[in-house]
């Protein structure tokens, strides 16, 4: 599979700060990529550049298009939900469906109505009458009815309760995703999406701190729960993070010898959030 997004030296500078600092990355088709970083790390800027919503320096090709100059054509293949509840409040549900059906060549009205049939949303409702969770349901129904090659989700479930969050990612996986499609998602609720991700991209201070598939992450990183008597030995192996839970020390290792680690204690695959915390150490200091 070839890369559908290719960035080389992608930079974006706001007055005093570098939001993106000469970033290189490739995203292949058929992946679900988690773009994860602390506030202000450049996630949103990177997504905006991909979607043609901002100027940038460097090279960026999305599905073969230059997002700066060919945004309209790009949007026939790309969908995005940028932030929660950005649907205009005056719009009626039926009007939203009619509009997207009219302007989008790859939109299926039947699919959209089928998704909406599973909700309490009716065509005569205005967006302002819907709850935040229902607005996201509507937006997701509109987006999933579009046969796009790339779907970009920027904090799509922020502020929703757990029922809406769970069903959001479930429908995305079961009714939408297939190997022809690619999804990029950013969120702070990492633990909720880690089981659906195929790839991980950490971004920090405008640079890529880690870009790997989940399989690679599993091979490279290991977490060991160490008894107090082995702590010194574990520290000698240069762990990238150390924390204590119920009197036991948990060490995170990058690329250490597994056989050696197994002698120290119980081995685990680290969770994305623990890996994230370890990678981002000192960000706000």
């Amino acid at each position: 599979m070839s890369a559908i997004i290719r960035a080389r030296g992608l930079s974006k500078r706001y007055a005093a700060t570098k939001a993106l600092d000469a970033v290189d990355f490739d995203i292949e088709a058929g992946r679900i990529v988690g773009l994860i970083g602390p506030n202000g790390a450049g996630k949103t800027t990177a997504l905006k550049a991909i979607l043609g919503l901002t100027d940038f320096e460097g090279e960026l090709s999305v599905l073969g298009f230059d997002p700066r100059r060919e945004r309209t054509r790009l949007m026939e293949q790309v969908c995005f939900i940028a932030d929660v509840a950005v649907l205009p409040r005056w719009l009626r549900v039926g009007e939203a469906v009619e509009f997207v059906a009219g302007v989008h060549p790859r939109f299926s009205r039947e699919k959209c109505n089928a998704f909406l049939a599973h909700t309490k949303i009716t065509p005569a409702m205005r967006v302002r009458e819907l709850s935040k969770g229902m607005i996201v349901q509507l937006h997701l129904a509109l987006v999933m009815a579009i046969d796009a090659r790339l779907l970009v989700l920027d904090e799509p479930t922020l502020g929703l309760d757990i029922l809406y969050r769970k069903s959001f990612y479930e429908s995305l996986l079961s009714d939408y995703f297939d190997e022809q499609k690619t999804i990029i998602v950013t969120t702070h609720q990492v633990e909720e999406i880690e089981y659906i991700l195929t790839d991980l991209m950490f971004i920090r201070d405008g640079r890529i701190a880690l870009a790997a598939s989940m399989d690679e992450v599993g091979e490279r990183y290991a977490e060991v729960m160490v008894n107090p008597d082995n702590v010194a030995a574990a520290r000698a192996l240069a762990p990238i993070n150390e924390r204590t839970v119920f009197g036991k020390s948990i060490f995170l290792f990058d690329g250490a010898d597994r056989a050696r680690l197994a002698q120290l204690g119980e081995l685990h695959k680290p969770s994305v959030s623990d890996l994230f915390v370890a990678t981002m150490k000192g960000t706000y200091a």
Binding site: L53, T72, C79, L87, P88, H139
Partner: protein, 321 residues
């Protein structure tokens, strides 16, 4: 550009209240006042002081004297009055529609939804400009014409109560002719209004906050600065009145009919009472405006401003509020 009808429909969905209901309520209140006036006159058995662009007493006198041509002309004036009253509302609706057209969706961030669809910035801006110069006036025209027809029914019934047959007068009027003439004049008004359309849309796309202040204060400050420079003996444009007319077009050329007589009445401020309104709507006289540089210079300036609005629409997403 093939989505244009849908884009215009989208504007109507968002602004139903302004485009449709504003002229409906304005003309309906005129009709209600007319009927109330008639009733009051009947109760007090006095003369009818109802003057809907043309006094009803005069109408009755004309019909009584069998002067149907004069009565018909009077009714034509009433029709224009309905259009004129709707136009006052139309100016305010258009002005604030344009200021918000490329700003409101940035303020509530719904621009991120619109931008997620394959609609170009050019198509978006063009649809807003066309809405201002064609869709809003079309609504006002249809509504005011309908109101005028209701008025004709009311007036005919009222005349009948007084034993007069108003139908010959109605037949002597030119409702269709006047409506068609106004339709034929829409392009003149549209071209004439381009500077204001471009100016307001430009600030709407450019401003990070308060587009109204930018759009109104910039010409005002330019005017004051020019006068002050003149006072201090610095380089300035000599004719303050001319500059005012020029800058005035940036804000007020969307006033329906402000193009009449090349804008001299409106921007010169010497609209004479009892002026021959019907004569001004003569097609020949109005189309003569196409031969004046004033119209074309303004139109080119308007198009340049629209191009700038498209440019900022592509780059400025966030507002600061």
């Amino acid at each position: 550009m093939n989505h244009l009808p849908l884009l215009l429909k989208r504007e109507y969905w968002e602004h139903r209240g302004g485009f449709l209901w504003t002229p409906v309520w304005i003309t309906a209140s005129i009709l209600i006042l007319t009927v109330l006036g008639m009733l009051a006159a009947e109760v007090f058995r006095s003369h009818v002081q109802v003057h809907a662009g043309f006094s009803l007493d005069e109408l009755r006198a004309n019909i009584g004297a069998n002067d149907m041509a004069e009565a018909g002309r009077g009714l034509d004036v009433v029709q224009l009055m309905f259009g004129g009253v709707a136009s006052i509302g139309l100016f305010f609706v258009t002005f604030f529609y344009l200021l918000g057209a490329l700003y409101d969706d940035r303020r509530d961030r719904s621009v991120l939804f619109w931008k997620s669809l394959p609609v170009s910035d050019v198509a978006t801006v063009v649809s807003k400009a066309l809405t201002a110069v064609l869709v809003i006036p079309a609504f006002a025209l249809v509504v005011s014409t309908a109101a005028y027809v209701v008025f004709l029914v009311i007036a005919t019934v009222w005349a009948g109560v007084h034993g007069l047959n108003a139908l010959p007068a109605v037949l002597a009027a030119h409702p269709l002719g006047i409506a068609l003439r106004i339709v034929a004049l829409l392009p003149v008004g549209a071209l004439w209004a381009l500077p204001a359309v471009g100016w307001l849309l430009f600030w709407s796309a450019f401003a990070r906050s308060k587009p109204f202040l930018w759009a109104v204060l910039v010409p005002l400050i330019a005017l004051v600065a020019n006068a002050w420079l003149g006072l201090m003996g610095g380089p300035h444009l000599t004719s303050t009145a001319q500059l005012a007319a020029m800058l005035g077009r940036l804000l007020f050329s969307i006033v329906p009919g402000s193009w009449i007589a090349g804008g001299k009445h409106f921007f010169g401020g010497n609209w004479a009472h009892g002026d021959d309104v019907l004569g001004h709507l003569d097609l020949g006289r109005s189309y003569a405006l196409f031969a004046t540089p004033d119209l074309w210079v303004g139109a080119v300036a308007g198009l340049a401003l629209l191009a700038a609005a498209v440019w900022y629409r592509g780059r400025r997403i966030e507002s600061s509020v």
